[in-house]
């Protein structure tokens, strides 16, 4: 081994190391990604009905909730959940497949769901503070499953577009340990975007 080590052999070693490095990273990424992908979402928006009106769109839909017991357990343990319904108006544009591009209007509605152990009641409170109390969890679930007359305001002169709707529980509002648990246990308390057919406004 001479002081001068730069040689074809050293270059080959570097390429091998690079390949090993890349392979390990990709492998781990696939492992994590596949694990994440295998865990299905807890909610699904179905029967999306969209009625365009003057500068707004009225949205009705049903939400299928598969992890009711999990939600109830969290609520019964005293943790407040934030239920979010989010709608977007997306117009077809080049590169609109990139998230964020083509979205010209969006609206988000948030509800707090809380359980009062003293009165054994579930409270559903909207952003304005209006609270609805339910004696039974299923009553809450029934309300959550229905999205009725959700209005999405549009910009004046909005052309053809689609309505996209999703629902989710805001994990960021949870305490840090629960956020971690949500990440590690693949809670996936969210629904994928459900997109309507192309509409002309």
């Amino acid at each position: 081994m001479t002081p001068v080590l730069v040689s074809a052999r050293a270059g080959g070693m570097m390429r091998k190391r690079g390949a090993v490095l890349l392979g390990l990273i990709l492998g781990l990424w696939c492992f994590v990604g596949s694990g994440w992908a295998l865990a299905g979402t807890a909610f699904h928006v179905e029967q999306l009905q969209v009625a365009p009106e003057m500068n707004r769109v009225k949205i009705n839909a049903q939400v299928q909730i598969t992890k009711e017991d999990l939600l109830q357990e969290i609520l019964d343990q005293g943790q407040t959940l934030i239920w979010v319904v989010k709608a977007e108006w997306r117009e077809p544009e080049p590169f609109s497949f990139i998230t964020g591009l083509g979205t010209h209007a969006q609206k988000e509605a948030r509800w707090q769901i809380h359980y009062y152990p003293l009165t054994n009641q579930y409270a559903l409170k909207n952003a304005s503070g209006t609270m609805r109390l339910f004696n039974h969890w299923q009553d809450v679930v029934s309300v959550l499953k229905q999205i009725h007359d959700f209005e999405l305001p549009l910009q004046q002169g909005a052309a053809r577009g689609q309505v996209a709707l999703r629902v989710y529980v805001d994990i960021q509002a949870l305490p840090v340990p629960l956020r971690l648990r949500a990440l590690l246990d693949h809670w996936k308390l969210e629904s994928p975007w459900t997109v309507s057919a192309l509409l002309s406004n």
């Binding site: 190391r17 152990p117 009165t119 340990p177 648990r181």
Partner: protein, 736 residues
């Protein structure tokens, strides 16, 4: 050394990060990269700490944790690749790899063990600490407290329900107008906050409330769905108070008439509400903690693990890097020693540090330079010695003296070409002196040498004679001793063939004798002859018949004087200084001319000439050559006349031609006969003066012939290879 910085390359940076193998000039890039990486690790550790502690940064905890995990993963891969590279180097047996491995293991253990201990203790402490927050006793206490609170508020619920039922009972059958008063009165009686009577179509029939400013409220839809059954619920209000809300159907006494509904609201006392709320809050918080118990532990453990891994992997990676950098000079040194062993004296690339390694490299380079210088000097000296050896060899090869060298064990070490030529024998090198003594001819030489070696003196100089088939060979031998490389005594023999010198000396001596004799004898011969002739003239006639004696005597004197004169002339001829006149000469015509003189003699001897055509001329003295031919023909005739004629007759043959003497072509002249040949005992000395087989010969004829041939630069040889074994004289003359 080139100090210009090479452009930064990601590949080189990664290589430097993974194995620390970047050349010195690129160390700036990886060094900064390493510093930045370490700072990033520290930054992430700090951010993880702050984000996990809660507050506004807590929302970044999970992303920070994920990024930290990514960094850990990146570090892990770097370390794995570096470890694999180190193992490969170790397997290949590269110098410095064992030391680097040991260093890495030590650093890994030193960093991992304390961190693992701290991690273990922290883990245990955390687990126990978190677990200590929870106990069944606390759980039970909280449950019971909640139950007590529930019981407390349930009591108010029940009492409100009873009151509402009583009021509903009182309102059965009452008209709407009367119901107002009843409602007011009974609300006051039962100390209720609000009582409202409404119809099935949600028309308020009667209402009474503590706070008339508030509009009467109807029960929420969920309670109304339970109509038909008295229900009383405790509901929290937006302001945090608890309200008992009772809904009692007021049965209508009339068939077909729908029931009216009595709705009563009664707040629970603030004190109880606060107490119950406090219990509820405590209960809720406890259960929140319960919910977060394991996740909290996991979060702490993850943070700890990430911190531990970051610390350990960073330490290992730095250890790998450090080990590589520390062992690089050693590896360089080892490579340098191997190069020196191969004979390559290349100075190593030094390092900037002044520590022991730097001093070692510097010293090694100095040593290498000195070795290179010494090698150059040794090579120059060797070349000089080689040139000197070649010079000596050439000189020895060109010397006319023979040289034999014997080593300390008296084995022949060297023999030059002249020695082979003189001794007429190629002695094998390496043979011992005793083994060389197996020939009779060289016996005198080996005897002399052996005697000298056994009784060594300072030097040896001796003249000896070797008996060869063509005559004696006189050698003068010098011997000297020397000490060889091993210190033992060897010796060298230097000898010269002085046979020719001796012969020339003898010939010169005879010439001088002949000259003096001729001079001393010739002078008195003429007076003697004249005196004898005078005596004859004066007294021979006077004495008449008595003059016979005088006649015989004087005749004898005159004849003998004539014979002496001939002999003296021959001596004078032999002793004569050479005054030769060389001119280009065609020998064939000369021979024919000489032969003409001998033709016609009726002596029964046939003289033939075989003369080669187109012979080149030679530079010769025509008179001398004529004398040669006359002497040789006379000798041949004398030899043939003394013999009996054979059946084929007596013959003399003269032959000319070209011959190759090795270095140049020569003109060969040979005279041969079929006579008896030279006597064997005289053959070696036949060219010496006064050597003759004839009774009346002077013995100078062949000596004169030889001298004439030598005057012409030629060579003469006598043998008995003439016609039918007769005598033959062969002379070679150089061409003109």
């Amino acid at each position: 050394m080139d100090r210009q910085r090479a452009p930064f390359k990601l590949r080189n940076w990664l290589r430097a990060l993974s194995a620390g193998a970047a050349p010195e000039r690129q160390k700036v890039g990886p060094r900064w990269g390493a510093i930045l990486l370490l700072l990033a690790i520290l930054g992430f550790l700090a951010i993880n700490f702050f984000t996990s502690a809660g507050g506004p940064l807590s929302r970044y905890f999970v992303p920070m944790l994920v990024i930290s995990a990514g960094i850990v993963l990146f570090l892990l891969v770097l370390v794995l690749v570096s470890v694999v590279a180190l193992l490969v180097r170790l397997r290949r047996g590269e110098v410095g790899s064992q030391l680097a491995t040991r260093l890495v293991i030590i650093i890994t253990l030193l960093s991992f063990l304390p961190a693992a201990v701290v991690f273990g203790f922290s883990w245990q402490y955390l687990n126990r600490g978190v677990d200590s927050w929870f106990s069944s006793a606390v759980q039970s206490a909280l449950d019971q407290a909640l139950n007590v609170a529930k019981a407390g508020i349930d009591r108010y619920r029940n009492s409100t329900l009873l009151a509402a039922e009583s009021i509903a009972q009182a309102l059965v059958g009452e008209s709407d107008s009367n119901a107002i008063l009843t409602v007011i009165a009974l609300r006051d009686q039962y100390h209720l906050s609000s009582v409202t009577l409404f119809s099935s179509d949600n028309r308020i029939i009667a209402t009474s409330s503590n706070n008339l400013a508030l509009a009467p409220r109807l029960p929420r839809q969920e309670i109304l769905s339970d109509e038909g059954h008295p229900t009383a619920n405790i509901e929290p209000e937006a302001d945090g108070s608890l309200l008992v809300k009772a809904l009692i159907p007021v049965l209508s006494p009339h068939l077909g008439e729908s029931n009216r509904m009595l709705y009563v609201e009664q707040p629970i006392p603030e004190q109880l509400t606060k107490a119950a709320e406090a219990v509820q809050v405590a209960y809720t918080r406890y259960h929140q903690l319960m919910l977060m118990r394991e996740p909290m532990k996991t979060a702490f453990q993850l943070s700890l693990a990430v911190a531990l891994l970051l610390a350990v992997l960073s330490a290992v990676w730095m250890g790998l890097h450090l080990a590589r950098r520390l062992t690089a000079p050693i590896a360089r040194l080892a490579a340098g020693t191997q190069a020196v062993a191969r004979g390559e004296f290349i100075p190593l690339q030094t390092i900037a540090s002044q520590d022991e390694l730097g001093v070692l490299l510097h010293s090694f380079n100095n040593m290498t330079r000195q070795l290179a210088r010494a090698k150059q000097q040794a090579a120059a000296a060797q070349e000089q010695a080689e040139q000197r050896r070649l010079y000596l060899e050439t000189m020895l090869g060109q010397l006319s003296s023979g040289i034999l060298t014997f080593d300390g064990e008296h084995c022949l070490a060297e023999i030059n070409a002249a020695a082979v030529q003189i001794l007429q024998e190629d002695l094998p090198k390496g043979r011992a002196l005793q083994e060389l003594q197996d020939g009779a001819i060289l016996e005198p030489l080996w005897k002399l040498v052996t005697e000298w070696v056994e009784h060594p003196r300072t030097g040896m100089q001796k003249e000896l004679q070797l008996e060869r088939s063509d005559g004696p060979q006189t050698l003068i031998v010098h011997g000297a001793q020397f000490a060889d490389e091993a210190g033992s005594k060897g010796f060298v023999l230097v000898f010269d063939d002085i046979s020719t010198l001796v012969s020339a000396q003898r010939s010169a001596a005879w010439s001088e004798v002949a000259r003096r004799l001729a001079h001393e004898i010739k002078n008195p011969l003429t007076p003697i002859q004249l005196s004898a002739e005078r005596l004859r003239r004066k007294y021979l006639e006077r004495l008449g018949d008595e003059g016979e004696t005088l006649d015989r005597a004087t005749r004898t004197i005159i004849h003998q004087v004539d014979a002496l004169k001939v002999l003296v002339d021959a001596f004078s001829e032999y002793a004569r200084q050479p005054q030769i006149e060389l001119r280009p000469l065609e020998i064939n015509p000369l021979i024919l001319d000489v032969l003409d003189l001998y033709r016609g003699q009726e002596n029964g001897i046939e003289i033939r000439a075989e003369l080669a055509a187109d012979l080149p001329s030679i530079r010769a003295d025509v008179h001398r050559l004529r004398q040669i031919l006359n002497n040789l023909l006379r000798n041949a005739m004398d030899a043939l006349q003394g013999t009996e004629q054979g059946p084929a007759g007596k013959h003399i043959l003269i032959r000319t031609g070209l011959t190759d003497s090795g270095s140049a072509k020569m003109l060969e002249l040979s005279v041969m006969d079929d006579g008896p040949g030279f006597p064997a005992e005289l053959l070696a000395r036949v060219f010496e003066p006064y050597v003759t087989s004839k009774v009346k010969g002077s013995g100078l004829g062949l000596a004169i012939v030889r001298r004439i041939v030598e005057e012409h630069g030629g060579v003469i040889v006598a043998d008995n290879q003439g016609l039918n074994g007769g005598a033959r004289i062969v002379m070679d003359f150089p061409l003109g």
